[in-house]
């Protein structure tokens, strides 16, 4: 019953999406108010229908209805409730349903919050959202239907993969998809602008909140995935430049660039063509990522069971959406009128540099990810492009970017004097040099890059703080006046500072943990103590334990520093029976200064156990930095000016002039 209901609302959503996709476009063209209004109502109905579908599938999982093929393949009656629910999106069909539901959610949100958008723009934006929905719904209904029945229903399900029963992994897809799909809104705005034939600062002001939301969610989604890899995979790695990781990183880079170039459009009415192109590219990268993961063209631990038929469908969809939008761009963009002029050294210039670096980074990651396919197609040879390549090419782009991040906010629009910006940043320069010196003195034989990394961290952190202090005239005006400035400063200004500080924290985490990690891999017998990174680890022994659906070897360690209070750590090596799988559950003690990371492995037959013990300095700051970025993004999002929409022109009386002047 539930499956049939779900099927029905899916078809209803498709029909609604078709209406939403076509009629408002006609309405906007003909300025027919009724057809344009239809867009809003259609988006409400579509959202309701897809919410219904999602609920139906969830009910199927929660009640363990194994007559539904998707539930039987991916769930099991013994699964805890939380993971039954997260299992809904832990498979190909369910995750697509989640995708398409979030698409409808964003459409609904644009209809709801976009009250002050001009009718024709709103109609077009919602129509494009609808068309994208049509594509995905066709894909779901024809190749990936989650509501297919399985007759006869099996006694129990197939899906007890322990790797998926995990809080980090449960929340990773929703956040990630909120990011990917959020970029569809900026895409729709870009297409609508191309159709309308104009991009003005008001457009950029409307686009900004959606870009911010998508960017913030994408940041968290990527951070969650990375954090999960860190604690689950057992050797403390958190980024592998795996094709699917890259597929999420590229849209993030593009979204970051978009965020910044939209500011230029808003404030200075220039870089319009580029921003439109970037909005198209960002969403295209999201879609390309979907293709790469689900088509079988690339191999990845993340890849869902691949199916060339699905691959063909997605590729055709990509050609239609991306190809179509780029053709529209080629036709319409040349007619867009440009705007303000600016000198190379100016805030615009800094933002252009930001975009140049980020776009090159995104293009490089794309090149590295697709290169194995290119080479195979042209020469039949196989080559593997891994971390050495990506690290070598990404770092030279990231370093100037971080340097520029401290400069940019100091530069005024249109024309700036680099010297005066530098002089205001001199404390940041001192801080960077001091930290660099300290690092060089303290570390015995670390890499040079560590010095650069620490210097950059200090530079960006202090530089951002100085800029913020400057803006509120901290220490230069009475405290009351600074306080007043602080609370009246637009939230997006605070948001920017906080987000930039977040980046500095991530730089700290990456530099410290990569440069100064200590590790000891070896056999330990019970009673032995080893010292790793100034912590003493005493191995107390290991025992076999029985868990709810696994057997495990559980080790007991006591970690202490200079004989101080000990912290108990219990790493496990679990053996699951259904399906047969072995996982390592590392014992992690996260602290602000470092993480202690202990893994236990096989017995060596002589009473000893294989162990891996790591001391990873400052690694938690990577995740904390991402959280900070997320917080900064959301603070910006809550800026009143964004909610009220574009500023209306205000009339101010000016002495000595007859007519009022608009500002």
């Amino acid at each position: 019953m539930v499956a049939e209901l779900g099927q029905f609302v899916l078809v209803l959503a498709l029909v609604t999406a078709i209406c939403q996709g076509i009629l408002p476009l006609i309405g906007a063209h003909k300025q027919n108010a009724a057809l344009m209004k239809l867009a809003e109502n259609a988006s409400f109905v579509q959202f309701a229908a897809l919410t219904g579908a999602f609920i139906c599938l969830t009910v199927g999982y929660v009640t363990s209805d194994f007559s539904i093929l998707n539930v039987a393949s991916n769930s099991h009656s013994l699964k805890p409730l939380l993971y039954k629910i997260s299992g809904v999106w832990g498979n190909h069909e369910g995750s697509l349903l989640l995708w398409v539901w979030i698409l409808a959610l964003f459409g609904f949100a644009v209809a709801l919050f976009g009250r002050n958008l001009p009718d024709s723009l709103k109609a077009r934006v919602l129509a494009i959202q609808g068309l994208i929905g049509v594509g995905f719904l066709l894909f779901v209904l024809f190749t990936s239907n989650p509501f297919e029945r399985l007759v006869p229903a099996p006694f129990d399900g197939n899906g007890l993969n322990p790797l998926l029963q995990d809080p980090g992994l449960a929340f990773h897809p929703p956040f990630l998809y909120l990011g990917y799909v959020g970029l569809s809104v900026t895409f729709s705005f870009a297409i609508a602008a191309l159709i309308e034939g104009k991009v003005d600062p008001a457009w950029a002001r409307w686009v900004r909140p959606w870009t911010l939301a998508a960017w913030a969610f994408l940041t968290i989604g990527i951070a969650l995935g990375s954090w999960w890899a860190y604690y689950e995979l057992g050797w403390g790695g958190w980024w592998f430049w795996d094709p699917v990781e890259n597929a999420s990183f590229m849209p993030w880079l593009a979204a970051t660039a978009l965020l910044h170039s939209a500011i230029v459009v808003e404030k200075r009415d220039t870089l319009k063509n580029w921003t439109i192109l970037l909005a198209i590219i960002a969403f295209s990268l999201s879609l390309l990522g979907t293709f790469l993961v689900r088509s079988g063209v690339l191999n990845s631990v993340h890849a869902f069971a691949s199916d060339p038929a699905r691959g063909v469908f997605i590729l055709m969809f990509l050609v239609f959406v991306i190809g179509g939008s780029l053709v529209l761009y080629a036709v319409r963009a040349p007619a867009m009128k440009g705007g303000g002029l600016f000198a190379p050294i100016s805030r615009e210039g800094a933002l252009v540099l930001n975009n140049l670096l980020l776009s090159t980074a995104a293009a490089t990651v794309l090149l590295g990810t697709l290169y194995p396919i290119f080479l195979d197609a042209f020469t039949g040879e196989k080559v593997s492009v891994g971390p050495p390549y990506f690290n070598a090419t990404f770092l030279p782009l990231a370093v100037p970017l971080v340097i520029a991040m401290a400069f940019g906010p100091f530069l005024p629009w249109k024309r700036a004097d680099l010297g005066s910006a530098l002089s205001r940043l001199k404390f940041a320069m001192f801080a960077a040099l001091i930290v660099l010196g300290l690092t060089w003195w303290l570390q015995t034989d670390g890499p040079i890059l560590a010095l650069v990394g620490m210097g950059l961290f200090a530079w960006l952190l202090v530089g951002s703080l100085i800029e913020w202090a400057d803006r509120i005239r901290l220490f230069r005006a009475p405290f009351n006046s600074s306080w007043r400035r602080m609370v009246t400063l637009p939230r997006s200004a605070h948001g920017m500072t906080i987000a930039h500080i977040g980046v500095a924290l991530v730089v700290l985490g990456i530099t410290a943990s990569e440069a100064w990690q200590s590790e000891r891999l070896g056999i330990m017998k019970p009673g032995e103590t080893v010292t790793v990174g100034s912590y003493d680890f005493k191995f107390n022994g290991a025992e076999q334990i029985v868990g709810p659906n696994y057997n495990a070897l559980r080790g007991s360690f006591t970690a202490s520093k200079h004989g101080g209070a000990g912290y108990q750590m219990f790493p496990e090596q679990r053996v699951y029976t259904d399906p047969p799988m072995m996982t390592t559950e590392a014992a992690i003690r996260p602290m602000l200064t470092a993480d202690l990371y202990v893994v236990i492995g096989d017995e060596d037959g002589a009473g000893g156990y294989a162990t891996r013990i790591y001391h990873k300095p400052f690694i938690s700051w990577i995740w904390l930095g991402c959280l900070t970025m997320f917080f900064g993004g959301f603070l910006s999002l809550s800026d009143r000016r964004l909610r009220l929409g574009a500023p209306k022109k205000r009339q101010v009386e000016i002495k000595g002039k007859e007519a009022p002047t608009h500002i």
């Binding site: 197939n158 140049l356 293009a363 290169y371 080559v383 390549y389 004097d417 996982t583 017995e603 002495k655």
Partner: protein
């Protein structure tokens, strides 16, 4: 019905690989000479684990990774240079086994690509900035005292500095 067989089949294949890859923390003999062991470690970090994705044999628990690590150690003990050790594996598994694609003609595009993209982008930027004319071309006329007063009246809360 066939769908569940197919996905079950694929799942078992994955299970086979998974058992291999999510395997035990290795119990293995390291080289006695610490310098050689470090060499082994460094070489291993550049060798791809063929049954994992994009991980080096140093980072993987798979059986094959363990075997390959032992091979690296054996070759070092036998007196091979770093290049010879890598070549031993390349002869058997192809260039694919090296994580760091060697700089040959076919990977030239890969390695030069980012630089080319950056330069193209830079040229585009310069052409954009030049082509638009320069802000320096625009003359700035200083405000009169009255205009200055009006300016301060309109924007009292901002920096009371005049644009340069």
């Amino acid at each position: 019905m066939s769908a569940i067989f197919r996905s079950g089949f694929i799942a078992t294949i994955f299970a086979v690989f998974f058992i291999a890859s999510a395997g035990a923390v290795f119990v293995e003999k390291q080289l006695e000479d610490p310098a050689q062991e470090i060499r082994a470690r460094e070489i291993s970090e550049g060798i791809r684990c063929l049954v994992c994705q994009n991980q080096s044999i140093m980072d993987s628990n798979a059986d094959l990774a363990r075997d390959l690590r032992q091979i690296v150690r054996e070759r070092i003990l036998a007196g091979d240079s770093d290049a010879q050790v890598k070549n031993f594996l390349v002869v058997r598994y192809g260039d694919w086994v090296l994580l760091d694609p060697p700089f040959k003609l076919r990977t030239a595009i890969l390695w030069l690509g980012p630089l080319v993209i950056f330069l193209l982008g830079g040229i585009a930027v310069i052409m954009f900035v030049r082509g638009r004319g320069n802000a320096d071309d625009v003359e700035t006329v200083p405000l009169t005292a009255e205009e200055e007063a009006n300016f301060k009246h309109i924007l009292p809360d901002d920096n009371n500095e005049l644009p340069k």
